[in-house]
Every structure is written in structure tokens, then in C-alpha cells.
Symmetry: C2
Subunit: 361 residues, 2 copies
């Protein structure tokens, strides 16, 4: 059938040109006579792929030389433990802001290894906003300060970063990775699973200021010790080679076809505006997030009537708009409009919503 | 160019039919209008893929119902820590047999969490044999007994399992996974990275007797706790979806095109015999492993002259036999002839070796 518009929260759409290249190179990568899936990770050919992926990421995100870029496995969930194991090495204290399920899980895992101070939470209103932060509640001698930048389930994003002074800021950017420019120097560590904006599921990118490395706790499993991976160029053991290859193709797409992160941001703002403007004007569909904290990537909305929500989700699927059902904790719908969602996908979705509203008044 | 014969120790060759299916389904998996790379891991379509992969593996390996099958990330190296963290929960003691670099690393990691008894080692002869085991040296109250079944670097394999009585036997089978039938009931746990015989790099398969689960140490990172993954059907977080899809295609190939593990073994024995018979008759090339412990999968050999070795490796590459250079600790050459290496690949290699020997007497 025709390609569908996939509004999944992740894994989600990849640029069609990337998939076409992957298909064309499947049996014979650039005249090597082998698939990238079959390449020895120690071969010259594969070395060029992983090196290019890192270089492209550094260039696109403007990552300074004093940051290490690691391509790991295990998803963000594995980093929930690796972060305290690697960085709770001074006072054993860390500050966490709880803006949703993923921040909450991260805080809970850190709490198994040290003292976690929940400086703020938006649980009281189903995480529909980013809490205002009061600096006087921050732990002055914390080993780090942790946020989840974009909250996939709830559709919120930090438009302003907390001022943590000398305390390193660590951010999970899984669902806003490469969606817009980010000042890397404001962070001790940025990380995320790649399966939303960067690659298929199976690779986790960690960008870490190098002075924070080398102080992992004794109990840290070797494979969770960031220093080990930094020392070995993400090749301490066999990396998820093919997933990294697809990431390289996506990075090339951002650089060459989109034109970099400023352009990516423009495009994402344009897409999000189409949807939010409609939500703000609709009588039937309402966004669930306070306007000032709305995400560019994940847009949850409801009709206020669960039967009507279900009818809409089913009709949308029928019309080729898939995975638009909201997370069970928010209900209703959620349109995840990641980098690879074409603008026509959003335009057509809004046209479809308008028609649905007309027909179901 | 034409497809090459890839003798890499892993990642390595995949069946050509698998790659063709993957290429054909890249932009539209079975009429869904999306790539498997783009599928929500919670979708019905992806649920069918991962469920089929597990069912096929259970059927092909004849895995009893009281064993859990987990599809994880992080490679065998991550399990080196997960194994002691999950299973060193009684006396805190474990026995390890050191038959190469990977067993040694596994033992070292376990030693960070408990008492490791090295019951035997073949380090004295560059791991060119499997040591004879003396049961009186086994730790009677060990929490488990650990072996690396097939030693990728050195080309040895256990043709007989140690009799560990009630102590659960744990085996790393990364480089012999699905190469021949195995009696799963003899093991407490079987595991391995998939990137040699089963799939591209990025998924690690763990097969664990369920009574061993649920007793992980307090310090175990949640993502290294096997019980968590068993409780969530390998979906606690986003799995490496596409890699698991390719694994499913490989399992279908073993079942439908090869005809199961007995047939796979026949084929592997036939391939290995061609190579070993030639090595035993050659004046120039010699196998490095004692005949009784030879692996079906990895065949290291040397000429005894490092310049001649290098000349052979270069000439072989030129002729389309790639990645045949041996590991630096053994030197010379190594032909890894995993499941997907066609018999013609081995026949042609031997013909090439004969010719090289003639021309370089």
C-alpha cells in the first residue's frame, strides 16, 4: 500500500530517502560485496561509517571537542542507572525534576544508589506543564541536576533551562534529539534513545563533558562505565552496527536535504503550528498542555468524550494516520510529529480532523 | 561487485535470501505502508514479529517451557556483569573455566561481585585446547558454573559438557548459537550475542531456567535484572526492533530452507571437514587447535611464517575471501565459517589455498 503517516511516539517515521538508500545498499554496500549488517565492526569500511556518524553528529549539533560522543546500547532506561553509577561520586546527591513517567523512573533508579531530591514535579496535573523552578530548593552540593527535556507522553518541553550554576545539568533528550539547535555547553551530559528522531531502536547516544568521566562507582558494571566506552571510541564491544549506519544516513539527510538544525527547527515549528492553531480554534479537539510548555514533537489532544476519541482513532487509522492513540495516562490522542514526518502529513491530518469535526458535531 | 565470501569472526555473513527479503520489505512491510524500522514496538504488527521470533527460536532449539527467552541489548559483555548480579545470590561463589579472552573477561567481571574460582585454564598454550576438568576442583556450593562453549578467537569448542551436578551450568554460546542441536535442559542459562549466526549486531539472546530468576542483588541496575525482562516479554523498554526482525528472518531460513538444526549441523560438519582435511594434508597451512577440540565455526591456521601469512591474507582479500586475518593473539589466519557461509565459499577457499601453496612452495 501507499506509505502511511505514522504518528507513533517512537519508533516512528524515518525519511523515505534513507529507507530507499538502505534498501538499495542492502546486498552490496558501495561495491564491497557485502551488507553493512555483515561487516566486521573492525573493518576499514565499517570504521568509516561509525567515524562519519560521529563527525556528522558533532558538526550538526556543534558539539565542542571537550565532549565525548558515545554510541551505546540499552536505551535511555539503561542510562537511568548508568548516570548515578557514573556521576553520583561526590556527595552522592542529585536533584531531579519530575515531569513525567520517564523522569520519575530515572529518579527512582538513581534513588537506589544515592540521595535524590525531587526539586519539583508536575504530577498534580498529569504532567501537563513544566513546573516553575525555585533555585533555593536546589541542592547546592549535588553531583548533578537531572531533567527530561521533552516529555513524550505528555507533550511538554523545557523552553528555558534551569540555572544550575556549577552543578552539571544532565538531560534526557530522547524525544527532541536533533529537532532544533541546542547549546551543548549548557549541559554536563545530553543523551537519548535514537528511535524517535535519529535512527531505528537499538542505539543510545550519550554526549558527555569529559571532565565528568573517570569517576564511576566501584560497583558499576564495566559496560555501564562511560569512561570505558569513551576510551574505546564506542567499540569496547561490538556496537549495534547497522543501526548506527542508518543513523549516519539520517544525519546526512539532516545536513544535506534539510540543511541543518536551524532549518529543521523552522520546519518543526511550522508543522507544530498547523496542529496547535487548529487545536486552539477547534470546538471539538483540545490540546492538553499549557500553551507555554508545548512540545514541537508530541502533541496530545482530547475531545473530552472517550467514545468520540475512540471513534476518531479508528477513523484516522482507516484513513492512513496510524498510531495516533494517546498514552493511557493522558487518554485521547497524541500526534508525534518527529523530524521525518512530512509537512503534508500534518496538513492532511488537520484536514481530516476538520472533516471529522464537521461530521460529528 | 559480486557478493564476497566473508570469513569475519562476527558480525559476519547473513543468508542472501534474508537480505533480499529485508530489502524488498524496507519501505512497506507486508502492506502496512511502513518499514519495520518505523513500527511502534507496541503495535500489533510488531507484536507478531517478536512473538514469532521467540516461537521459532523455541521450536528450532527445542527450548522447554520452564525456560524464559529474552531478547536484550548490550552484547555478551553486558551479561558478564548481569550473570553475577543475577545469580551470585547464594554463597556468592562461582566456578569459571578460562578457555580464552571472553571467558577470562567474564570471570574478571564476576570477580568484582563475588568469589570466582578458576577451575581450569588453557592459557598456557594460547587457548589451543579445552582443558580436561577434574570434578574434585569444582566448588560444591557454587551459585553457578560458567563456560564459554565455542571460543571464537582460538577455534575451540566443548564437545563434552562438564558434569556440574546441581550447580547450574551457564554457557556463552555467542559463536556457536544455532550451529547444531543443543540439549537446553543441561543448562541453567544459555546466552550469546546474535551477530555471528543469528542476526546483525545489536541483540543478545538469553535463555534462562525460570527457577533461577527473581533473586538479583540489590545493586543490580533494573535493566540488567533478567526478571524484569522476563516479566515484560523483552518489552520493558523499546527492544532493538529491526534487529529482532532480521533474526526472525534468519530463524525462518533455518527452519524452512535449511530444515532445522540437525541439517544445519550436517552442513556445518561438511564445511568444516573440507577445511580441516585440507589443513591436515597441507605442507604449508596448519591448524592451531588440537584435533579433538576443534570448532565447527572458527578455524584458525598459520603457515609458520608471518610474511607468508600476510601475503596470503592480502591475496585472499583480492580474490574475494575477506576478513580472513587471524586475531593478533593467535596470528596467521582464521576462517569463521558460520551458518550463512555457503559450502561453495569453503570449497573455493580451499581451492585458493591449494593454488597459493603450489605457487609459494
Amino acid at each position: 500500500m501507499a506509505r502511511v503517516y505514522n504518528f507513533s511516539a517512537g519508533p516512528s517515521m524515518l525519511p523515505e530517502s534513507v529507507l530507499k538508500t538502505a534498501a538499495a545498499e542492502m546486498l552490496d554496500y558501495k561495491g564491497t560485496g557485502e551488507s553493512v549488517m555483515e561487516m566486521s565492526h573492525r573493518s576499514k569500511e565499517y570504521g568509516e561509517i561509525i567515524t562519519a556518524a560521529e563527525s556528522l553528529l558533532r558538526e550538526i549539533m556543534n558539539i565542542p571537542d571537550n565532549y565525548k560522543v558515545l554510541f551505546l546500547q540499552g536505551g535511555a532506561s539503561t542510562q537511568f542507572a548508568a548516570i548515578p553509577l557514573n556521576f553520583m561520586n561526590g556527595t552522592g546527591k542529585a536533584d531531579y525534576v519530575v515531569t513525567g513517567q520517564w523522569a520519575k523512573k530515572a529518579a527512582a533508579e538513581a534513588g537506589r544508589y544515592g540521595d535524590v531530591n525531587i526539586v519539583a514535579s508536575s504530577a498534580d496535573k498529569t504532567f501537563s506543564y513544566i513546573p516553575k523552578l525555585d533555585k533555593s530548593t536546589f541542592t547546592k552540593d549535588a553531583d548533578y541536576f537531572y531533567i527530561c527535556m521533552n516529555n513524550t507522553i505528555y507533550g511538554t518541553v523545557y523552553h528555558e533551562l534551569p540555572d544550575t550554576g556549577d552543578v552539571p545539568l544532565i538531560a534526557d533528550i530522547s524525544s527532541c534529539f536533533l529537532s532544533e539547535p541546542l547549546d551543548v555547553t549548557k549541559f554536563g551530559m545530553l543523551y537519548g534513545g535514537a528511535q524517535k528522531n535519529v535512527a531505528p531502536a537499538g542505539v543510545t547516544i550519550c554526549i558527555i563533558r569529559e571532565d565528568l568521566l573517570g569517576k564511576a562507582r566501584d560497583i558499576t558494571p564495566t559496560m555501564l562505565n562511560y569512561q570505558i566506552h569513551a576510551d574505546n571510541g564506542s567499540m569496547y564491544n561490538t556496537p549495534p552496527c547497522y543501526t548506527i549506519y542508518i543513523m549516519k544516513l539520517v544525519l546526512e539527510w539532516i545536513k544535506n536535504e534539510v540543511g541543518g538544525l536551524e532549518k529543521m527547527k523552522e520546519l518543526n515549528e511550522k508543522k507544530a503550528k498547523i496542529l496547535y492553531d487548529f487545536l486552539d480554534s477547534s470546538e471539538m479537539f483540545k490540546g492538553t498542555v499549557v500553551p507555554e510548555d508545548r512540545s514541537l514533537m508530541n502533541v496530545p489532544f482530547v475531545t473530552g468524550d472517550t467514545d468520540l476519541d475512540a471513534k476518531f482513532v479508528a477513523a484516522a487509522k482507516e484513513a492512513g494516520f496510524i498510531n495516533i492513540k494517546g498514552h493511557r495516562t493522558v487518554g485521547g490522542m497524541r500526534a508525534s510529529i518527529y523530524n521525518a514526518m512530512p509537512i503534508e502529513g500534518v496538513e492532511k491530518l488537520v484536514a481530516f480532523m476538520k472533516k471529522f469535526e464537521e461530521e460529528n458535531k
